[in-house]
Subunit: 372 residues, 2 copies
C-alpha cells in the first residue's frame, strides 16, 4: 500500500497515477471498475493519536463505482482530474483550483451534460485524487490561493529557477510564502526559534521593532487560519532545521484553533497530518491570564464574547486534545467566566513597543507561561 511521503519525485507521482488508471482499465474487462480511496476526515472518523499528539484518519476505504448511478459522475470527474494532474506533472506546470475547473469543464456531446457545473465539484474530486493516490495536491501540481509571509535570517532557494534570497533582506515585508512550497529548499538559518503570528499587523510590528534580530527569531505570519503553504513551511522548518516553534494568536477560540491546526492538523485534512502538522509547537499567547497580568481590561482593550464565540468555545473545549489539558480547560473556563476575549493588537494599549520589548521576552523567559 502506498503512503504519504514528505518528498514525492515526479516519477513516483506519475507512477501512482498510472497505477490508478491501470487498475481501472483492467477492471473494465473483469467486472465493476472502481476507484478506491480513503474516506474523508470528519469529527466521527478521525482519531486523536495521543502519543504523537496529532489528529489522524481512521482509515476506511471507500470506492466510487462505474456501474453505480450515484457514483458514475464522480468516477468520470476523478479520471478527468487524474488525467490533468498527469499532464501538469509531465509538463512541470502548476494550476490553480479555478484553472482546473475551467480546464475540465466542457459539455459532453450527445448526452449534452456538463462535466462540471461548479468549482466545488472539481475541488472535491481533487481531494478524492489525493486520497486515492496518497499525495497532497501540491505534489501533483494543483494549488489554492492564499499566502503568508516570512521574515528573518534564513536563506530560501527556488530549486527550479535557481533564485536564492535571504528573507531579512527584502525590506520590512519579508518574503511572501506561496500556496505551494514544494520547489523551495531551505538553506542556512541563523536563528534560535520560529514565531508564528496570526496577524499581518503584528508581523509588521515585530519587524519594525527589530524583534527577529534582537531575539534571533524567524517570523512567519499565517494571516488568520494558515494556508497549506504556510503549514508546510512551519512543518519543514521544525523537521529539517530542528527549530522550536511558538504560535502567537488572538486570545479567542479562533486563535486557539489556529494553534491547534498548526500543531495537530485539521479534521478534514487529517489524512495529511504527517505532512502538514507540527506536533511539538507551543502556544505563547494571548492567554486569558494575559488580560490580568498586563492589565488589559482596565485599559478597555478587551472585547465582549458574542454568541458565535461562545458556541465555538463550547465546541473546541470538547475536542479530545483540548479536553485532556488542564491548562487549556482553565483558559476556556476563564474566558467564559470573564465573558471577554483579547486580540494580540490589544498590547498596543500599553505601548507600540510593549509586545516586542516586554511581552514576548517575558514569555520566553518564563516557560510556565507557555501552553502546549
Amino acid at each position: 500500500m502506498v503512503q504519504y511521503i514528505e518528498k514525492l519525485s515526479k516519477e513516483e507521482v506519475l507512477s501512482r497515477i498510472k497505477k490508478l488508471a491501470d487498475e481501472i482499465y483492467n477492471e473494465f474487462s473483469s467486472g465493476n471498475p472502481s476507484i478506491k480511496l480513503a474516506v474523508r476526515g470528519n469529527i466521527k472518523n478521525i482519531e486523536y493519536d495521543e502519543k504523537r499528539d496529532i489528529i489522524t484518519l481512521k482509515e476506511k476505504i471507500g470506492s466510487r463505482e462505474f456501474f453505480n448511478l450515484g457514483h458514475v459522475r464522480r468516477f468520470m470527474q476523478t479520471l478527468l482530474v487524474a488525467s490533468l494532474a498527469k499532464k501538469l506533472v509531465e509538463k512541470d506546470k502548476t494550476a490553480s483550483l479555478r484553472e482546473v475547473y475551467y480546464q475540465l469543464k466542457h459539455t459532453i456531446p450527445i448526452l449534452n451534460v456538463n462535466t462540471l457545473e461548479e468549482q466545488e465539484e472539481s475541488d472535491a474530486v481533487i481531494e478524492d485524487l489525493e486520497r486515492a493516490i496518497k499525495a497532497i495536491r501540491e505534489q501533483f501540481h494543483i494549488k489554492a490561493e492564499g499566502r503568508g509571509a516570512i521574515y528573518g535570517d534564513i536563506y530560501l532557494r527556488d530549486r527550479k529557477r535557481g533564485d536564492e534570497w535571504n528573507c531579512s533582506k527584502l525590506g520590512r515585508g519579508g518574503w511572501s510564502v506561496p500556496s505551494t512550497i514544494e520547489d523551495i529548499e531551505i538553506g542556512d538559518v541563523n536563528a534560535d526559534f520560529v514565531l508564528v503570528v496570526e496577524k499581518e499587523a503584528m508581523f509588521d510590528r515585530l519587524i519594525e521593532e527589530r524583534f527577529p534580530e534582537k531575539q534571533g527569531a524567524i517570523l512567519i505570519t499565517s494571516k488568520g487560519q494558515p494556508p497549506r503553504g504556510v503549514r508546510r513551511l512551519i512543518h519543514r522548518l521544525r523537521k529539517e532545521k530542528n527549530l522550536p516553534v511558538y504560535v502567537f494568536t488572538d486570545g479567542d477560540p479562533w486563535g486557539f484553533y489556529i494553534y491547534s491546526v498548526i500543531k495537530r492538523g485539521s479534521m478534514n485534512l487529517s489524512q495529511f497530518s504527517e505532512l502538514l502538522a507540527t506536533p511539538d509547537v507551543k502556544f505563547i499567547g494571548m492567554t486569558i491570564d494575559d488580560i490580568d497580568e498586563y492589565d488589559l481590561r482596565k485599559k478597555g482593550a478587551v472585547i465582549k464574547l458574542n454568541q458565535r464565540d461562545i458556541k465555538r468555545i463550547n465546541e473546541i473545549a470538547n475536542y479530545p486534545w483540548f479536553k485532556k489539558s488542564k491548562d487549556w480547560q482553565r483558559q476556556f473556563r476563564k474566558m467564559m467566566d470573564y465573558g471577554i476575549k483579547v486580540e494580540q493588537d490589544a498590547l498596543a494599549a500599553n505601548s507600540l513597543e510593549f509586545v516586542a520589548d516586554t511581552y514576548l521576552p517575558d514569555k520566553l523567559e518564563h516557560p510556565d507561561k507557555i501552553l502546549s
Copy 2:
C-alpha cells in the same frame, strides 16, 4: 494653503501637524476653536475632471467645533490622532489602524467616557486628519493591511533599511507589496510596460509561463480592489519610470471598477487622486467582446449575471467617465444583452498557456482591442 504633494519630508509633516495645533491653541483664547478640513468625497461633491481624466473633490471646507455638542467628541479624537501621528513621525514608527485604535482608547477619568468605542471611530478621525493637514495617512505613518505583489526585472530599495532586491529573483511569488511604500525607492527597471492583474492566480500563471521575460513586462497583482500601497506603486511606476500601464481584470462590473479606481481614483479618496490615481492606464481585458472572439461561451466558461451584478452595472455605467465613452457603453450594453460575465481564469478553458501565448500578445498587437 497647503497642498497634497508627492513626497512630504518628516519636517514638513511635523510642521503641518504643529500648525494645526497652534491654530487651535490660539483660537482657545480668541473664540471658538475649530478644526478646518475638506469635506469627504461622495457621489455628490466629487468632480470628474474630464481634461485630466481624474476624479477630484469639489473642495468645500467644513469644521469641527469645540463649542458644539455634536462636534466636541470628534474634535477631541482628532487631536488625539494628531498627537499620536506626531509621535509616530518623530520616532519613525508606523502603526496599523488597529494599533492606533488600541493606543488611543482609554477611559476619561471623572467623565467615565471612553475616548473611542470602535475602530470605525478612529479610522474616520484618521481620514479627518488627512483632510485637515493635506497628507495621506501613509505620510504620517499610519497604514492599513492588504498587500499586493510585483514580479519582473525591477530593482527596489528600502531607503531606511538599505536593502535592495530584484523582483524577478525571489522565486515565482515575486515581492510582496506592503500597504505603505513611502520608504521604497524604485531603481533600475528593464521592462517595456506594466501589467496590473486582478487575481493572484493569473499573476502566478503569467509568471509560470515566463510572460514577463518574454514580453518585457512588470507584473503587479492587486488581489481584487487594489490596496493603497499597490495604487501608489502603479502611480509611481508611471510617473517616475514613464512606463505604459495596462490593467487586466475579470469581465464584470467589479473588474471594470477596479480599472476605474486605478485610473481615476475612487470617490471617497477623491482628494488624493493626484497621489493615488494613474490617469493614462489602459484596459486590456476581459471585455465582453472576448467572449465571442475566444469562443468562451461554447466552452461553458461564462457565468450568468446575478441581481447584484445587474444593479452594479446600472450604477457604474452612469458614472460620467464611463458614460461619455462609446466603447465602454457598448461593453455594458453587451453584458446586459448577453446576461453573462467572464472571469480572467476562464481563458484556461482553451489551455493554460493560452493567456500568455495568445490572448495578451494578441491584445498588445491590436491597440484597437484595448479600451481606455
